[in-house]
């Protein structure tokens, strides 16, 4: 059900999103004032400032927002598909596959586009593997899918550990950054924006079915949902969103698990609201986390995945407490 407070929530999140983007554009080792940022956005900036914004901060901010949005959306879908509050975008082993791809690329000395391609290929392989095994023997069930995903994840975990323990110290450093999630090398392009847009529109189109499916598969069927079709769409869309997010920034934790729960606690339980809110809050949350990652121990940078947990855990607990006492 949608009420006035839901529109207020969306409004508030749009404000937060804009604020987070400005915070991110203003944070970093080169000090830029708000005037410089505004001037640059209006296309009349200074040479150096212009370069910093254009080549470093804007792409990075956009990458952070896109990654966060995709992860939160994927989290929403996974939680409904598996009807498990512990589900997150990585639960079915996609990030594990991507990590093995990325780490192998690092081991072989590849970087840049090769590394992202390797990560994406690993993710796709894992998606197909889990889907294949879960559907191979008999009927699809949530338990079977979940177990397959968890077991495949564990397998990837072992491979990751082998790669970590057998690599040189130099490589291990980059591998760890990738594993924790890091936006310093991230670039997004048209494909990523398109994917996020498709996610938003598709998520809205399917939002009523998501509402019904969150009450269980039998109930959803009884209420007229074609479940075979819906779960295929959900599995593959959530997987592709996750794969895209992971190739942008590595496996940034926490966003996909907790952002949907925070919003549900704040009353956005209807997916017509939860879908757009997740994209906004997931995106702006990662933008803020990445700003902090850049300035907390500047000029050094933290992996953003560490910061998401450090600010995410207490804010989640605060929301949880305040909604329980009501």
């Amino acid at each position: 059900m949608i009420g006035q407070r839901h529109y207020l929530l969306i409004g508030a999140l749009i404000v937060i999103t804009i604020a987070s983007i400005f915070t991110s554009l203003l944070s970093g080792s080169v000090n830029l004032g708000i005037n410089a940022v505004v001037a640059e956005l209006l296309n009349s900036g200074h040479e150096l400032e212009s370069q910093v914004l254009r080549e470093i901060r804007i792409p990075r901010t956009v990458a952070a927002f896109t990654t966060g949005g995709l992860l939160a959306l994927s989290g929403v879908i996974m939680q409904v598909l598996l009807r498990n509050p512990l589900a997150d975008p990585y639960i079915l082993g996609i990030s594990g596959g991507a990590a093995v791809g990325a780490l192998s690329a690092i081991l072989l000395g590849a970087g840049g586009i090769l590394l992202t391609n390797a990560a994406f290929a690993g993710a796709l392989f894992s998606i197909a593997l889990v889907f294949g095994i879960a559907n191979k023997f008999g009927r699809w069930s949530v338990t079977r899918l979940l177990l397959t995903g968890v077991v495949v994840s564990a397998g990837w975990g072992a491979v990751i550990n082998i790669l970590l323990t057998t690599s040189s110290t130099n490589n291990v450093q980059s591998m760890l950054f990738w594993l924790m999630g890091d936006l310093s090398q991230s670039r997004v392009h048209l494909g990523h924006y398109t994917l996020l847009l498709i996610g938003l529109i598709g998520g809205l189109l399917f939002s009523r079915s998501l509402n019904v499916l969150s009450r269980g598969e039998l109930v959803a069927q009884g209420l007229g949902v074609n479940i075979q079709y819906l779960r295929l769409v959900l599995y593959f869309s959530a997987s592709v969103f996750t794969a895209a997010a992971v190739t942008i920034a590595g496996s940034v934790g926490f966003v996909g698990l907790v952002i949907p729960h925070m919003l549900r606690l704040l009353g956005a339980r209807d997916h017509r609201i939860l879908v757009p809110c997740s994209i906004l809050l997931g995106g702006s949350f990662l933008v803020v986390a990445d700003s902090l990652a850049r300035i907390v121990i500047a000029p050094q940078q933290l992996p953003v995945g560490v910061v998401t947990a450090i600010i995410g855990v207490p804010s989640f607990i605060i929301i949880l407490r305040s909604t329980i006492s009501k």
Partner: protein, 255 residues
Amino acid sequence: MSSLKIQSASLTIADKLLYADLSFQIERKEFWGLLGKNGAGKTSLIHCIAGLRSIDSGDVQLNEISVQDYSRAELAREIGILFQDGLETLPATVMETVMLGRHPHVQSMFKDSKDDLEIARHALQQFALTELSERQIDSLSGGEKQRVAIAMLIAQQPNFFLLDEPSNHLDIAFQFSILQQLKAILSARNGSMLMATHDINLAARFCDKIVLLLENGDYLCGDKMEILTPENLSLAYGCEIRQLGEEGLAFFYPV
């Protein structure tokens, strides 16, 4: 006149033959009871009729067309199911849940229509849930959850109700009053129902016709007066069952 026809259905699950050649027809305004001992296939039959599970042979037809040929949404406007297992759920309030009953009907994407809200509120009121409408589902008692599930079914407004153990979790007062209400609601819209239950006395009280599932795929079906006899019931449940009282208010008990 619409009808729900089960035609020579057969089903075997895990090497156990549940029905070999099961046929009966539910006409509008009829109230059917579905009895049989645990594992006799009551829930499976409900799922088969609703098109949620396919039968091995035979057919289930709604208005002369096989249920498998309907889209799920079309079917959901005609047939509503009360499931035995409650509403597993991510967080949701009572009102939000009952509103989901409106899903099979055409709805706008961004707005809840006034009619839908009114139908849901009315359903809440009928089952004494108005006070609970903003409560979270997982904070409710078993009986309250069962009433929410029933209110959701009412909001769905189907013509055929398939009820799987509707009296689950309900105290004796609610068992009686809710079934009476369901019957009144159905009668008002010329609807019909099939109620699977383990409570013979409830079926004797509220149903006109009975399907009694027996061992080895056999079954009995017909008017309740013919079917609900101590002999038939003893055969079906594999223990001796006796009857107190006469037709109108018969009471069956095991010895």
